[in-house]
């Protein structure tokens, strides 16, 4: 018997859409027949605004895209401008970038982990990750002065060197990270209910993942080994020894687990970076007014959500002619509509959460 299908709006305001995002679900009972994602509720026109800002002034705006890992957002942009201008970044600045970038990744993954727990219903895990994130954020605040929107990177380096008290604090944090990860593992990953909810749910086959240009943990969850830090090492990533965790089934559980694994790997990277860090200036030789030559450049980094690219076009003036950001969450969302079909309402939340989107980044 064909029961009537009906439409249900999931969002724009919904506790688990992680912001203002809307999915129009066509449901039969509780089963999704068709899903239409509607982004754009947070479209702020950053790309347009950037055209009216100088190159340096764009940096704070990149913060507001993936506000959970703002350092990485800065990084992709300054990387592109540096490529465009051919600026050499001092060694020390590169190491600082790696450290704050990985810290940012840890912070972002912590939220992703916790928020995913909350989506599945384990609110306590959410508070734990937030509790621990505070300590990561403290470190980043120590170096940059802000808790979320750091604007710490500068074209050709970073804004300031680490303060002295940073080093003991980061050591202390790094020592705790494995224990934190174990706690999340014990509370969420190891939980049978959680596994039942996420294993073999929302499976993305590797070919499809590649076809849809997915990236980041979503792609690696499907078993595709594509991490820019390894595949095309930028900055000084080729000097570190770390592993790229991969999933097997491409289900929600894999995507989730990878993030916790990556936190552990990030910890390793930071440790090595702290060891290898040379002395020196933190800002390269940069002209006072940044006027790149006419031309364009595209640079990519691996942000916490996936491949974050930045395409900058210069017309020789102090303001960029065009800036385009390749935002990983946005492109990862492209497959959502297809992915949701055939799953239940509860799975919709699980799948959406496992993709780990940040609406600021999706809508730009």
């Amino acid at each position: 018997m064909k029961t009537q299908t009906y439409y249900l709006n999931l969002g724009p305001q919904h506790p688990s859409t992680h912001g203002v995002f809307r999915i129009i679900l066509e449901l039969d009972g509780e089963v999704v027949v068709k899903a239409t994602p509607v982004p754009g509720y947070l479209h702020r026109g950053i790309e347009k605004l950037a055209e009216a800002r100088t190159y340096t002034q764009v940096i704070p705006y990149t913060d507001r895209m993936d506000y959970l890992a703002a350092m990485l957002m800065n990084w992709g942009y300054v990387e592109a401008v540096e490529k465009l201008m051919g600026i050499e970044v001092p060694e020390r600045a590169e190491y600082i970038r790696v450290i704050v970038g990985e810290l940012s990744r840890i912070a972002s993954h912590m939220i992703a982990t916790g928020a995913y727990g909350a989506d599945i219903g384990a609110l306590t895990a959410f508070t734990y990750t937030f509790r621990d994130r505070e300590y990561v954020i403290d470190l980043l605040e120590m170096v940059s002065g802000s808790r979320m929107t750091f604007s710490y990177f500068r074209i050709g380096g970073v804004a300031a060197d680490f303060p002295e008290e940073f080093y003991p604090a980061v050591k202390k944090l790094l020592d705790q990270i494995p224990a934190m990860c174990d706690e999340y593992d014990g509370l969420i990953t190891g939980n049978e209910i959680f596994q039942a909810r996420t294993k073999f749910v929302g499976i993305i086959p590797p070919e499809v993942a590649v076809d849809y240009s997915l990236s980041g943990p979503v792609l690696r969850g499907s078993g595709v080994n594509y991490d820019l830090r390894k595949v095309r090492p930028y900055s000084v990533y080729d000097r570190f020894d770390f592993e790229v965790p991969l999933g097997k089934n491409g289900d929600c559980w894999d995507r989730f687990r990878i993030r916790i694994e990556e936190m552990r790997q990030s910890k390793r990277i930071i440790e090595q970076a702290l060891e290898q860090m040379p002395e020196g200036p933190v800002l390269g030789k940069v002209p006072k007014v940044i006027k790149p030559p006419v031309g364009d450049a595209y640079a990519e980094i691996e942000s916490s959500k996936g491949v974050y690219g930045c395409y900058v076009v210069s017309d020789g003036s102090p303001k960029p002619y065009r800036v385009h950001f390749r935002r990983p969450s946005f492109i990862n969302l492209g497959y959502l509509g297809k992915l949701l079909e055939g799953w239940k309402i509860a799975d919709v939340i699980a799948i959406l959460g496992s993709i780990d989107i940040v609406l600021g980044e999706v809508d730009c």
Partner: protein
């Protein structure tokens, strides 16, 4: 830094196949509009290139033309390639859609349509606006887009 560009001989092979293509010294390929789909099909399907990952897709509004920019990656070989093509028609810019080749182009093309007004042909019902509402006037990332900010004195 390692090199992720296409080896010269592969580039030559491409050049001979698509005489209209220009290669900059950074190995950015610029194509005539008509060559786009055959070229893309070639570099995707041909196992020598196997550009199976469409990373990025965007468009720039230059005074005289629109320039589409595609960034491609080959997972098996590790090559990257930037492909550009110009749309000379500033009034009704049209370009064939790449969804048949890479499904990941879907949302990115919609974004380009939404913000720059490039129409992608070849897929019925595509593109539609993605960020802005259907009744939004204009395409904001065009240089001639006029709007009012809400700043108060």
């Amino acid at each position: 830094m390692a090199d992720y560009r296409l080896p010269e001989e592969l580039m030559e092979a491409l050049k001979s196949k698509f005489p209209g293509m220009e290669v900059s010294e950074r190995q950015d390929v610029t194509l005539p509009l008509d060559d786009l789909v055959p070229f893309m099909t070639e570099i995707k399907e041909n196992p020598d290139y196997a550009m199976d990952f469409l990373t990025n897709l965007t468009c720039v509004d230059y005074p005289d033309y629109f320039e589409m920019v595609y960034n491609l990656v080959s997972f098996s070989h590790g090559y990257t390639l930037m492909v550009k093509t110009r749309i000379e028609d500033k009034e009704n810019p049209e370009i064939p859609s790449l969804i048949p080749l890479w499904s990941g182009a879907d949302w990115q093309e919609r974004e380009v349509y939404d913000l720059l007004g490039i129409v992608f042909t070849g897929c019925p019902g595509h593109p539609t606006r993605i960020f802005l509402e259907e009744n939004f006037k204009g395409h904001p990332l065009r240089k001639d887009f006029q709007w009012e900010g809400g700043r108060e004195p």
